[in-house]
Amino acid sequence: MLTSKLEAAQLSIQRRWDPHFRWVINDAVPWTSLAKPLSESTLALVSSCGLYRADAHVPFDAWNDLGDPSFREIHIDTPRDRLRIAHTHYNHQHLAADLNVALPIDHFRRLAEAGTIGRLAARAYSFMGYLPEPRQLLAESAPAVARRMHADGVDAAFLTPC
């Protein structure tokens, strides 16, 4: 059941951008247990704030009414001045001033140094969260990220929307 707030948002998105948009309503929930203590686990960061690397990536197609289901891989050592935001559905003020608002590389590095987590995975992943049609995300992009995480020995993922 959609709340009246979500119903209103759905109508607005249908009128303005995508007449076929429907909120996803799930019933069952997938589950994988954490296999190791956090202090021995490799954590990977994922964010859907539209971050990309200006000197290496094509920006997300943020002006497309149907969204952009692709993703960008961002190495945690990427110089901060190379990162840009392509996303037209939130206020960039906080993230533009401080990457840790949504991609908390500095905080997770400190957690690894302190031994709270085992390690921060070198590859972080960026999506553009405005996506009224998620089929390609579910069939291709998100499984591709899962394969890369398995290749890197990632034990858990920390996700932030915008």
Binding site: P30, L138, L159
Partner: protein
Amino acid sequence: MGLIARTLEEQGIPTVCVGMSRDILENVKPPRALFVHFPFGAPLGPANSPETQTAVIAAALSLLVDASQPGTLREAGIEWPD
């Protein structure tokens, strides 16, 4: 974001997801979700507020470790600083 979390989890990667819309989290149902009363664009708190950001991260990591029920939605109870 919840959809990505669900796909990762289906592929064998445990996830914890921060979210600013309780309504969306309740419908999409990521495996473990931490709800914050923050505006869109600032999931871990305001810019240059490391105390707030690390408090949200600590709450999310506790949820990752503690949660035993698929679809656990926990309220962070962390205030946006003045």
